[in-house]
């Protein structure tokens, strides 16, 4: 029973371009790093180019699927690939890699993910990141798409809400495994920063500035209401995209991972004002790991992380999504009645999402998928 020790060649497909930062891209990089450390051989295929300076992935473990085309999609700007040229690149990568298993992220998007699923001959594990129903387009795309969905051997959903969409709209099932974080990187920085919390509290928002669904507008509407009782509040926003902000708000633009860690460690309240369809909320977890008190909108995926809305045991202050008055109330509550015990519990809960746990769970799904694979592939997973 030494199956855990066998080294697997895992082909990982990410549909979104590495030229821009994003949750799925980060997840894929974290997964590849975990697999590498666990003695496996990951190879990532994604559009765009790997930034060698900031990347945690070996250059030889990365293949570019070419430049991606920006398309407005799912309320965000997605950069995607399609067409015969992309299909040919995917085919070459598959032949060259000789993978034991493919792990395809967000398979039902018009991208290299769907192309890889279509072309795959080896066992396929897929991860569903978004909780966006697409039943209408599913019906219209018809048999081709159903046949591709049937090729999935094991599904993973990043949250219960994402799983519900898989069950209801794809007619498939999925094991719920959350996204992973580097817990120690965030938690390590927090302790040093705590004594700073002062009469000039810092409020932080992380996320694209120009995407309405990230909810920055709600936060900016709430700002003046909060400042009535906290005139020295410092509001800091950081993320991609251009958007004018009022003078009392400091906009840092895009920041590096290190800057993000430092910023979270020095903040007094983290606000996640998202309006809809946030499938997981990795920044929320990173903030929880940093030991920052959380204020978040009542989205299903946030509730998954913070506990039920009514219960005393929830790990952050919740407010009605889109309601700036309620957001202001929640922030004032956190600033005026700090609850260090709750913040500590939130940090403890975030530890469970460290790659050491999440990666083990993903590997368990790989082994299960391989144990049910046709014989020529099953040899790797048997034992």
């Amino acid at each position: 029973m030494t199956e855990q020790r066998r080294s697997l060649r895992v082909g990982i497909v990410c549909p979104y371009s590495f030229d821009v930062p994003g949750g799925v891209q980060n997840h894929v990089l974290g997964l590849a790093r975990y697999l590498h450390q666990a003695g496996h051989q990951p190879s990532v295929l994604a559009p765009g180019e790997l930034d060698p300076a900031g990347a945690t992935l070996n250059v030889e473990d990365f293949s570019s699927a070419g430049a991606a085309m920006p398309v407005r999609y799912n309320g965000s700007v997605a950069r995607v690939n399609f067409g015969p040229l992309s299909a040919a690149r995917v085919g070459r990568w598959l032949r060259k890699g000789q993978f034991d298993l493919l792990h395809i992220h967000e398979p039902i998007t018009p991208s290299i993910s769907l192309l890889a699923l279509w072309a795959a001959e080896q066992p396929v594990v897929t991860t569903f990141h978004t909780a966006t129903p697409r039943s209408r387009s599913m019906q219209l795309a018809g048999g081709v798409l159903s046949a591709a969905i049937e090729k999935i051997d094991a599904g993973i959903a990043v949250s219960e809400s994402a799983r519900n969409v898989v069950v209801q709209h794809l007619g498939r099932d999925a094991v719920v495994i959350p996204n992973g974080i580097q817990f120690d990187a965030f938690a390590g920085h927090a302790a040093a920063a705590t004594p700073e919390r002062s009469s000039h509290p810092k409020l932080i928002f992380l996320g694209r500035l120009d995407e309405p669904r990230k909810g920055l507008d709600v936060l900016l509407a709430a700002g003046p209401l909060i400042m009535e009782s906290h005139p020295h509040l410092e509001v800091i926003v950081a993320g991609q995209g251009h958007r004018p902000v009022p003078p009392w708000c400091r906009s840092l633009g895009m920041i590096s991972e290190e800057q993000k860690i430092a910023l979270l460690g020095a903040s007094d309240v983290f606000v996640a004002p998202h309006l809809e369809r946030e499938s997981f909320g990795i920044v929320l977890l990173e903030a929880m790991s940093s030991g920052v008190p959380i204020v978040a909108s009542e989205l299903p995926s946030f509730l998954d992380l913070l506990g039920p809305a009514q219960a005393e045991g929830r790990l952050g202050e919740l407010f009605v999504a889109g309601d700036h008055r309620d957001l202001a109330r929640a922030v004032r509550q956190v600033l005026e009645q700090p609850n260090p015990l709750r913040t500590a519990r939130a940090q403890q809960a975030a530890r469970g999402y460290d790659w050491s746990s999440v990666g083990t769970a993903v590997l368990a799904v790989y082994r299960a998928a391989l144990s049910a694979a046709p014989r020529n592939f099953a040899a790797k997973g048997a034992g």
Partner: protein
């Protein structure tokens, strides 16, 4: 005339394609069952190993070995097997928290069995939904093999154990 030939060709291609999908779905349902069966057997074997732990009390040993032996009984009917595996889950739910060091070996096997069951039932659902199609039924594309069935049992933690480490 040529139109008729084209229509026939397209129909033939579509039917072949559908038959391939039915075939693939049936094969996957069979393979996932074999994997689930193996995972359940391994779980029961690992449970039996608990009995060998130094210092285990005889009541616990008897409880676990009874449940594991019942699950390992050969030639159980499908329904009896489901019952026996559920009983083993319940016994393990009750016993495992009282033992500390031993659980590391058993928890991954329980998780594996639980994931395998999910994959199997998922594969069965796909196969059954293809079998329900008119074309598949009328042309008997599913062949003579019996329809696959989901395996229903109480299974313990799927991946919850990862969080509590």
């Amino acid at each position: 005339m040529s139109l008729v030939i084209i229509v026939v060709l397209i129909l033939g291609w579509r039917i072949t394609w559908l038959a391939t999908r039915v075939d693939r779905a049936n094969a996957r349902a069979e393979r996932t069952w074999a994997a689930l069966d193996a995972a359940l057997v391994r779980r029961a074997q690992r449970a039996l190993e608990l009995v060998l732990l130094p210092g285990i009390d005889p009541a616990t040993a008897l409880l676990v070995s009874d449940a594991a032996a019942a699950a390992l009984e050969p030639n159980l009917s499908r329904r009896d097997r489901e019952q026996a595996e559920s009983d083993l889950s319940h016994v393990l739910d009750a016993v495992v928290p009282t033992l500390s060091a031993s659980t590391n070996k058993l928890d991954p096997e329980r998780a594996r069995a639980s994931i395998c069951r999910r994959l199997h039932n998922d594969a069965v659902a796909t196969a059954l939904s293809l079998r329900r199609r008119h074309t598949v039924r009328i042309l008997r594309l599913a062949g003579r093999a019996a329809a696959p069935r989901t395996f229903e049992m109480a299974d313990g933690p799927e991946l919850g154990w990862l969080r509590e480490r």
